[in-house]
Symmetry: C3
Subunit: 135 residues, 3 copies
């Protein structure tokens, strides 16, 4: 089963999509299998991270801003605005695809793991995911 999911983002940051994916897995009625999530963009990405505690998410975002600054004078790719090239680089450092085993009709996540879309652009938009769930 290959399906799509749209996530609306409104600013830079992490958007927890775990519950959407859980609902898809439950609906598939697949007991044991594999779920692959793919984001169809180069300025937003996927990560698996701590699902509790706003402080860890704050630090993640702040760290990305320091490691890959916007408006770096070294960038030549400026046609997408001051947050374009940094968004590409932050996407490359994280993930475009993730694969998670399914066990007992549940994503085999650890207790503290959540799956997030990371919006790297200042102005959010609609982000498209392609999702493959198979027994």
């Amino acid at each position: 089963m290959v399906t799509t999911l749209d996530i609306h983002t409104h600013k830079q940051g992490l958007y927890d999509i775990t519950s959407y994916l859980r609902t898809l897995v439950h609906g598939s009625e697949i007991e044991n299998g594999l779920c692959t999530v793919f984001i169809q963009h180069t300025t937003a990405s996927l990560i698996v991270q701590e699902n509790s505690g706003a402080s860890a998410q704050f630090d993640l975002e702040h760290w990305a801003q320091r490691l890959v600054p916007e408006k770096d004078p070294a960038y030549t790719h400026t046609v997408e605005g001051p947050d374009g090239m940094s968004a590409h680089l932050r996407s490359v450092l994280t993930n475009t695809s993730l694969s998670i085993p399914v066990m007992n009709n549940e994503l085999a996540l650890g207790d503290r793991q959540g799956i997030f879309v990371w919006e790297h652009r200042r102005v959010g938009t609609s982000r498209h995911l392609a999702i493959d769930i198979r027994p």
Copy 2:
């Protein structure tokens, strides 16, 4: 086939799990297929890297310590101790899932590739992996 594997870590560093995965693939008797490994943690991660030469592994660990230092005064997420937030960030830079094709009942690794769990916490623990192997 979805199964689990526990790896005991005792300190920060790389733990070669290639032989455990090879054993699972052999036992599956799958000739051609796909093996997906998922680590159920946000302070330990997966990488594929050079399987020979302690110097490359030493440099990897030293580089991670320099790029993502512990006890950075910018971190607000300090409840997990001085190595907590750096462990999350190092996990984000590496992988939570890996997928490796299976050919002739062997993982299709290059000659010099090994699969490693990277423990980012100072005190090791038991790390849980979920593994999907399918024809």
Copy 3:
């Protein structure tokens, strides 16, 4: 179906392999499924990135050179030459495997996404990929 693909690189940089993968997907006649690409090396890697605009690719390469310099005096792993250890580190920061859903016999890529081999060695070589495409 598990197959292999060799890509000849001649210097550091990004090599767009999207058309090769598209041809494999078309040839498979699989309508809906999953394509997994795995690179059998530790000094070259995979990324999904902007397929148009040489400036974004230039900035990506320049940024990697700044973030992970060659000949860093901290490296102890020098047996592979001045570009060996930096190549391992740049590979770790990017991807060894990628999984892309297949929809309507096409890779479910976004309009601006391409799939690239990133050669991290100064002198190119033949890079081997293992590719699993399944319904």
